[in-house]
């Protein structure tokens, strides 16, 4: 455990190193809200200074310069000293870190087929849930991880091209809008950080990953279920089989780097489909849907 004063000194000095799945991230920032978020969400992933000679990504979060910082303070994201994005309001500095880290990984980690998908594991078997924003992935992910599944990823699946296994990238689950109170009320043990309002995704608050998810982050999982969720308010909760070819097309559509990794990406995606039960999920009621997904482990539906 890193003492608060050490965290602050590290962030304001040479940076602190975080083990985020297979990546080491070195982060520097003088922003208090980033420091607080790091203490809340990443305290278990801070690496001791003697282990931090190498980092995959060197990130800085800083106040944007310019006169307008006086009446509209902003935060800017830097990778290797260059800022690839427009600044965001200072209040969104921590979400900016998470979104920026997504960008860093998506631009560089081509040892993996990267998929916009949640990944959870139980008994060594992985449930992969690709989906568009609004499909309900994060709500399902939060509910599953708070009820015994291990979190590998909220929205960024890493499928290793060589091994065909899913590699964990455990980071805080990004809850949006109504899902924040829903999860808070259902799971009193959930540790949810402060909300950031008026982001491009509405109100966003992050859920701290469970201890098991962090302790076992170096353990990959083999794919067992590929489920495409769709939130259908007022609809009927159901899991239906999906043809492999249709599943492949949807999986490719959800990938960040399929066109970059070429044939190896096709083989990894096709292998995942052949090893998984492919389904589409329509869900309206969280309890019913959790029952359906937990039933997968018993061989259902």
């Amino acid at each position: 455990m890193t003492a608060p004063e050490d965290l602050r000194a590290g962030l304001r000095g040479a940076g602190v190193a975080l083990q985020v799945g297979p990546f080491v991230v070195r982060l520097r920032s003088r922003l208090d809200r980033v420091e607080r978020a790091l203490a809340l969400f990443y305290d278990r992933q801070l690496l001791p200074p003697e282990q931090t000679a190498f980092a995959d990504f060197h990130i800085t979060l800083a106040r944007a310069s310019g006169l307008h910082w006086l009446w509209r303070p902003q935060a800017r994201f830097f990778l290797d000293g260059r800022s690839p994005f427009r600044p965001l309001p200072l209040a969104h500095a921590y979400p900016l870190f998470e979104w920026g880290l997504n960008w860093c990984i998506a631009q560089h980690a081509h040892d993996f087929l990267m998929i916009h998908a949640a990944v959870l594991e139980r008994d060594g078997q992985a449930l992969v849930m690709p989906g568009e924003p609004g499909a309900g992935k994060s709500t399902l992910t939060a509910a599953l991880t708070l009820s015994g599944w291990r979190l590998l990823s909220d929205e960024f699946a890493l499928l290793a091209l060589k091994s065909g296994k899913l590699v964990a990238l455990p980071r805080p689950v990004s809850l949006k809008n109504a899902a924040i109170d829903l999860i808070r009320e259902r799971y009193p043990q959930a540790v949810i950080g402060p909300a950031s309002h008026d982001t491009s995704k509405g109100t966003v608050a992050h859920l701290r990953p469970t201890d098991t998810s962090i302790e076992r982050m170096q353990a990959p999982a083999r794919p067992a279920w590929l489920v495409f969720p769709r939130f259908t308010p007022g609809g009927r909760d159901q899991l239906q089989p999906l043809a492999p070819a249709e599943a492949l097309q949807r999986l490719i559509g959800a990938s960040f780097n399929y066109s970059v990794v070429g044939g190896a990406g096709f083989e990894a995606a096709a292998d995942l489909i052949e090893q998984s039960a492919c389904m589409q999920l329509e869900y309206a009621d969280l309890d019913v849907t959790l029952g359906l997904l937990n039933g997968l482990r018993e061989g259902g539906p």
Binding site: Q249, G262, F266, E267, A270, I273
Partner: protein, 112 residues
């Protein structure tokens, strides 16, 4: 000498008897899933999903170079359809495979 197989009134395969051949694809880049075939063409980076009857034409040609007449016979064994329907389906399928450069005509290869 065998006569070209008549397909329908006024149509024969005489002009297209040259065998057709699939492009070479690594085994891992072709997946047969029930009625569907998914394949990856590394020359252009495209992924194709084939559905019947295109799947059958592809699977027929996967056995080796085949004349259109032989492909027709292959389809005839699998579909309960009129000759005209089969021929139209076969020609449409071959056109699609040609459009995506998934088949090559050995005669063309020799000319090149």
């Amino acid at each position: 000498m065998a006569l070209p197989r008549p397909l329908r009134s006024g149509v024969s395969l005489t002009a297209s008897e040259a065998p057709l051949e699939l492009i070479s694809l690594p085994p891992g880049h072709v997946r047969v899933w029930g009625d569907s075939v998914a394949l990856y063409d590394s020359r252009c980076g495209e992924t194709h999903v084939l559905q019947p009857p295109l799947t059958d034409i592809f699977c027929a040609l996967r056995q080796g170079p085949m004349t259109p007449a032989a492909v027709f016979e292959y389809l005839e064994q699998r579909y309960d359809a009129t000759e005209e329907e089969l021929e139209n389906a076969m020609q449409a399928g071959l056109s699609q495979l040609r459009e995506h450069y998934l088949i090559c005509d050995p005669a063309d290869s020799r000319d090149a």
